[in-house]
Symmetry: C2
Subunit: 96 residues, 2 copies
Amino acid sequence: MTEATNAVLIGKKPIMNYVLACITNFHAGAKEVSIKARGRSISRAIDVAEVVRHRFLPDAKIKRISIGTDQFLPMDSDEGTQGGTNVSTIEITLTR
Amino acid sequence: MTEATNAVLIGKKPIMNYVLACITNFHAGAKEVSIKARGRSISRAIDVAEVVRHRFLPDAKIKRISIGTDQFLPMDSDEGTQGGTNVSTIEITLTR
């Protein structure tokens, strides 16, 4: 990750909130905005990237998409979940 | 898309079904397997790619991840959904 990257973390809010956050970052002078999400929010991250690109900033390009896995250690180990649970992550870097 | 690519379409089944489909494709001699998903299934597509890579085929690499938008035309146009609904798509190409 570069130091000039602004990250937008995707949660459960409506996608337009995150779209606005991305656009605000770009308008503030950011060269790159990184959209990050985990688990079920991943599809919303892609929605955000697509809306930003197609509706608001046609000159924005997808620079990089990377996926990964975050591991959570189990809080109570008597449930038989050995080694914790895994959750997939995505990071979409937009540039203009 | 190349002609030598085998596609695995992600739906609502447990992810291990799709993981098995990917591994079967590779074992049948495929050089590339393309994991495709739409909408809420996108996070499952990433789960599948991560499980294939980390648990079963450590030599598999992510060649390309592309995202896009599919547009559906409205079935009944009296609901005020102008121009249909958009759904995000992902395609993850694994290679080994």
